[in-house]
């Protein structure tokens, strides 16, 4: 183990509902977990895509919203003190000399464990990129999908496109330090916090923000430095707007990402597993939830929960090879109840 690596029993890639419940099943069997997720919060799709949508097919919960389910799972796994590494993408997976897995994230976090559980759902959430020809050559130079340092944009002419909370929040935050800020949205209605929309409208009325209704159809510039965007207005006319930075905010999409390079067998971007242990073709690497495939697979949260319980049995044999696996019920086992703190 290197000095800066964190050692644990199980690394879980993905903190969606299934990754979270895996903490519970592994915890009951005396395994400690660290979770890695690219989002800034636990919950995966439930928290990011449909926090307020009701789910009706979670056993025992006639109706629960995505966020309520995540909150309940977080409460349920509290006794096992999972450690979260959020805002990070699991980037590489290698074997150490001691035969442990070493997982490195794009933020430089290094985790080492006996078992890896891939619970990555549909993949990593990454910003949606406008399908504009040649946009790649500007990315990270003058086209940005997130703001790391606001100072980067001081005295710039910024174009922000999009109509949701991110577009509005960054319009409000960057306007005071920008030389000029233009907000482009395809319609004159915004699905964002009403307070942000009101503040943006005030800035537009005061002449401090330009609001342009339309869609960006082309970028102009050279050497990665954007000089203008072409916007097709709702009048059908194309207008050119000079700028030196473009920030598109259209929400997130899912990409499998580096998991594809972990050395695990993939089939159509899914990880084939057996239905006894939910293990991949690589021993000690498991796949549970939407990312796995097997005959009869259904992409349901409840199926993922079932998979965690069986996975945890085999994971125990790897993490505690000297111990005998004991099957117990939380209703009757004082041992399990002690672990749960009840």
């Amino acid at each position: 183990m290197t000095t800066d690596a964190i050692s644990t029993d199980v690394i879980i890639v993905g903190a969606g509902p299934v990754g979270l419940f895996a903490v519970f099943e592994l915890g009951l069997n005396d395994m400690k977990c660290h979770l890695v997720d690219i989002l800034d919060k636990p919950g995966g799709q439930c928290a990011e895509l449909y926090p307020e949508k009701p789910i009706y097919d979670i056993p025992g919960l006639p109706i629960v919203t995505g966020q309520e389910l995540v909150d309940a799972l977080m409460k349920q796994i509290e006794p096992f003190t999972p450690v979260f590494h959020l805002n990070q993408m699991a980037e590489s997976l290698t074997k150490t000399d001691e035969g442990k897995w070493r997982l490195t994230t794009d933020a430089g976090t290094i985790l080492e464990a006996t078992v890896v559980v891939i619970a990555a759902g549909g993949g990593s959430f990454v910003p949606k990129k406008p399908p504009i020809k040649g946009i790649e050559e500007y990315e990270a130079k003058s086209v940005f999908y997130s703001v790391r340092r606001m100072e980067t944009f001081r005295d710039s002419h910024i174009v922000i496109s999009g109509g949701g909370d991110s577009a509005l929040d960054w319009t409000l935050n960057l306007q005071p330090l920008a030389a000029k800020l233009t907000l482009i949205h395809r319609r004159d209605e915004f699905r964002a916090a009403p307070d942000s929309v009101n503040k943006m409208r005030e800035l537009v009325a005061a002449g401090k923000v330009d609001l342009k209704i339309g869609q960006i159809v082309n970028l102009n510039g050279a050497g990665g430095q954007i000089e203008s965007v072409a916007v097709k207005g709702d009048d059908g006319e194309t207008h050119t707007i000079a700028c030196d930075a473009l920030l598109p905010f259209y929400g997130l999409t899912m990409k499998l990402g580096p998991v594809a390079n972990f050395g695990i067998n993939l089939h159509q971007n899914l990880i084939p597993v057996d239905t006894e242990k939910f293990e991949s073709d690589v021993k000690t690497i498991f796949a549970i939830g939407d990312i796995n495939s097997y005959p009869g697979k259904l992409k349901l949260i409840l199926s993922g929960f079932h998979e965690t319980a069986l996975m945890a049995q085999q994971a125990f044999r790897y993490v505690h090879p000297d111990r005998k696996l004991r099957f117990q019920y939380t209703t009757s086992s004082s041992d399990l109840q002690t672990k749960l703190g009840v």
Partner: protein
């Protein structure tokens, strides 16, 4: 019932359409590329399709939620719809749609 789907290469496919299924589900069942990341809950815009002009006014009009979710899509046109919000009925037999970069790239 048939649904006519033009893919990104411009090839038209005639696929079997089931009543009460969403257009998104029918396209996916027909083995054409359909991302539909949120699974049909009108949350992601990755089932965005274009409706053939002659069909635009024959569809139920858009709810505010669909209009808002389309903000997360690209290359939005007046005939843009989210296919997860379109339910197939006998009077839509022969509906023509075209896949988009959002749905299928």
């Amino acid at each position: 019932m048939k649904l006519l789907v033009t893919d990104l290469e411009g090839v038209e496919h005639s696929i079997e359409a089931m009543a009460n299924w969403t257009v998104m589900e029918i396209i996916r069942d027909g083995d054409l590329p359909m991302r539909a990341e949120c699974g049909g809950s009108c949350a992601c815009a990755t089932c965005h399709v274009y409706i053939a002009q002659e069909w635009v006014n024959r569809l139920p009009s858009m709810e505010e939620e669909e209009r808002g979710t389309l903000d997360g899509g690209f290359e939005i046109e007046p005939n843009s719809r989210l296919s997860c919000q379109l339910i197939m009925t006998p009077d839509l037999d022969g509906l023509k749609v075209t896949l988009t970069n959002d749905s299928s790239n």
